[in-house]
């Protein structure tokens, strides 16, 4: 079975009345890893949040389709159930809810009623994934993200990714705040997901993540649009030369969009 396809067409997004995305086009298919790169403030995280349905972001124009279904018509939970996943840059802390209970609810939300995962199987899978991500098992009994270090939060996002096994995942700055060892572990988790059934959109402004995860496609965002696309060699050139050459090539002076993008 081939994987899913996520199509983003001419996407315009506002936050508090200010337009941040000004016509983004992207297509991600099962089996493909895409990297969206760009300096801070160019709209990358807005793209991730808009796809998932963050309450503060308003789509004013354009389409998002998952296997032809209109994602923008779906509630956030329906988007997840349809196969989308967003590893968030700033995951919420939820007091009183253990990571383990939350994970189990998440896994079951992707299964039919009456077909819930058994506790034994769940624990086995969770333990396995936690081992793979070199996580402290006590974390499962701690409250969701509460008092977690930056690195622990990111690992926890990847743990969820591995447990939920979505069709298309968006990883929003999964590498920010990670030291090199943590970065390697997180990358290992993401690479384990690679299959024909899994598509991934990796948002980052550091090339270093792409030393561990090789993307099939690289896109550069500036001024709320994808301004350049290419293969993995594009990321390598960025590492060597920075973003200036692209700005010169395209005649862009200020690459940012909005004020807090």
């Amino acid at each position: 079975m081939a994987g899913s396809t996520l199509e983003i067409k001419d996407l315009h997004v506002e936050i508090e009345g200010q337009e941040i995305l000004k016509g983004v086009n992207l297509t991600i298919k099962g089996g493909e890893f895409h990297a969206v790169m760009g300096p801070n403030g160019t709209g990358k995280s807005t793209l991730a949040s808009a796809i998932m349905g963050h309450p503060k972001y308003e789509v004013t124009k354009g389409q998002i389709l998952l296997d032809g279904e209109d994602v923008l018509e779906m509630e956030v939970d329906e988007r997840a159930q349809a196969g989308l996943f967003l590893a968030m840059q700033y995951p919420s802390e939820i007091s009183g809810v253990t990571t383990s209970d939350f994970l189990r609810s998440s896994v079951n939300a992707h299964r039919e009623e009456g077909d819930e995962i058994s506790l034994m199987k769940f624990i086995k899978e969770m333990d396995g994934a936690m081992d793979y991500l070199e996580m402290d098992k006590n974390m499962a009994q701690r409250y969701l993200n509460e008092g977690f270090s930056g690195g622990e939060k990111k690992r926890n996002e990847i743990l969820q990714l591995m447990m939920i096994q979505p069709a298309i995942a968006i990883l929003d700055e999964i590498d920010s705040g990670l030291d090199i060892d943590a970065l390697k572990v997180v990358s290992k988790g993401i690479n384990k997901m690679r299959s024909e059934e899994f598509g991934c959109l990796i948002i980052t402004h550091y090339q270093r993540l792409l030393d561990y995860i090789t993307p099939d496609h690289v896109h550069i965002m500036m001024q709320g649009r994808v301004v350049k696309s290419g293969g993995p060699e594009l990321a390598q050139r960025l590492e060597a030369e920075g973003y200036e050459w692209i700005k010169e090539e395209l005649g862009i002076e200020d690459e940012t969009v909005g004020q807090n993008a």
């Binding site: 998932m52 349905g53 963050h54 309450p55 509630e75 956030v76 939970d77 988007r79 997840a80 159930q81 996943f85 967003l86 968030m88 995951p91 919420s92 939820i94 007091s95 009183g96 809810v97 209970d101 939350f102 609810s105 998440s106 939300a109 992707h110 409250y143 969820q160 939920i164």
Partner: protein, 435 residues
């Protein structure tokens, strides 16, 4: 307009009520004195809550009930508070105002531990009860309700743990208001002598939706030097019962009192939970969670007063309000002059689930000493949309996400309830009240 407080209870009634219960003379005299005082005393004035129209007069005072032959004969609704597979040996069940069931392990009995109903305690341990009854914690003449409580007291338990006795297993009391109009004028005394420790858990339960009743409860918790008391409760009076509940603690040197109160009444409620940190290096952590629904009005006060040096008082109040319920959460940290190096911290948070509900967090710090630390945090608001978004982004429905957040919000008390059956019961009550 004054409150309707004319009660059909006079000195003759009190004398015969007391005599029928074979109470010691001092108790009868105390009741008569309290009745006289009640005439002239004002009702309490809880901050920002008017209780003028509340029912404090319509109830049946003297309602006895049969004992039960065994715990298996309890109705299901009471059995749920017990771990029926692994029965708690240290248990008192009060049915209306009579003891329905009572047991204490022989080991604890040999160690001198007392866990019994207040009537028996007055018969068998009169001096000990007198030593603590309305003395160091609550005063008879604080207001009309404390005086009426003393005059009309009709139930409760007495817990006494001698010096150096450490009790691992929880002591449990269940107050079952079976008769829909029965008044609960319970007096609970918990005393931990020096270097002792105990855990006590109580439940109040009634089913009167339409009938009127009154609960006027005074609980006095005394932790002597270096004693350790963990006090848990689940209050679940029905809509028809107006509740005044005063739970007060006194902690002496190096003593520790922890309160875990699940306040789940459906009727109008005044709850006063005050702890006096008398001794140096004493400690109290008062945690309370509540859910308000329907039209009920509630006023919660959590107050800790630091007298001792290096004493520490922590308060956590979490409330969920829905429908047209309203509640005031007063958190009061008071540090007296001389209580140097002491600490007062509090956190009050209210979650509002409907536009007609009201919740006020009212944090107050009163500090008469320079060399101290203190802090407070208070918030009133709705379920955080960003938290909902995060949970929903994993496929969890909005309703389930809200449920998780609310249970999490109330977890600080739920997780501390030491008897699993009671803990589960509290979770179920929360579930029932929120949905």
């Amino acid at each position: 307009m004054t409150v309707e407080t004319k009660l059909p209870y006079d000195q003759d009634y009190i004398r015969s009520f007391s005599a029928n219960r074979n109470e010691p003379d001092w108790m009868q005299e105390l009741r008569i004195k309290a009745l006289e005082l009640a005439e002239g005393l004002e009702m309490p004035k809880p901050d920002k809550t008017s209780i003028k129209r509340w029912n404090f007069h319509d109830f049946k005072h003297d309602v006895s009930a049969e004992t039960i032959p065994s715990l298996k004969d309890l109705p299901k609704e009471i059995q749920v508070f017990l771990d029926m597979e692994n029965l708690n040996e240290n248990l008192v069940i009060q049915r209306n105002q009579s003891v329905a069931y009572k047991s204490l392990s022989s080991q604890l009995e040999e160690q001198g531990v007392i866990l019994t109903d207040i009537q028996t305690a007055l018969e068998k341990h009169s001096d000990l009860v007198q030593r603590y009854y309305m003395k160091d914690a609550v005063q008879i003449d604080e207001h009309k309700l404390t005086a009426l409580h003393t005059a009309l007291m009709n139930g409760g338990v007495f817990v006494y743990v001698p010096k150096n006795v450490q009790i691992e297993e929880p002591l449990q009391a269940i107050f079952w208001q079976e008769d829909p109009e029965a008044a609960t004028f319970n007096h609970v005394i918990v005393v931990a002598e020096a270097n002792s420790s105990l855990t006590y858990v109580e439940n109040y339960i009634s089913k009167n939706t339409d009938e009127n009743a009154v609960a006027n409860i005074v609980t006095e918790v005394i932790a002597h030097d270096n004693a350790n008391i963990n006090f848990g409760s689940v209050d679940n009076f029905s809509k028809g019962t107006t509740v005044y509940v005063n739970r007060r603690g006194v902690a002496y040197r190096d003593a520790k009192i922890e309160w875990n109160l699940g306040q789940m009444n459906d009727g109008n409620t005044i709850s006063d939970n005050t702890t006096h940190l008398i001794g140096d290096n004493s400690y109290a952590y008062a945690k309370t969670v509540s859910v308000g629904r329907g039209e009920q009005t509630q006023n919660f006060t959590a107050k800790i007063v630091n007298y001792g040096k290096q004493s520490e008082g922590l308060i956590l109040q979490h409330g969920v309000m829905k429908e047209a319920a309203s509640a005031i959460f007063n958190g009061i940290g008071k540090i007296e002059h001389g209580a140097s190096k002491s600490n007062a911290e509090q956190e009050s948070r209210v979650l509002m689930l409907s536009k007609d509900s009201r919740g006020d967090a009212n944090p107050i710090l009163l500090i008469d000493e320079d060399d101290v630390t203190a802090g407070h945090a208070a918030s009133v608001g709705r379920v955080d949309p960003i938290q909902l978004y995060y949970l929903m982004s994993r496929g969890i429905s909005k309703q389930e996400a809200e449920r998780l957040i609310i249970h999490g919000f109330l977890a600080p008390v739920v997780r501390e309830i030491p008897i699993e059956a009671v803990r589960n019961q509290l979770t179920e009550v929360i579930e029932r009240k929120v949905y």
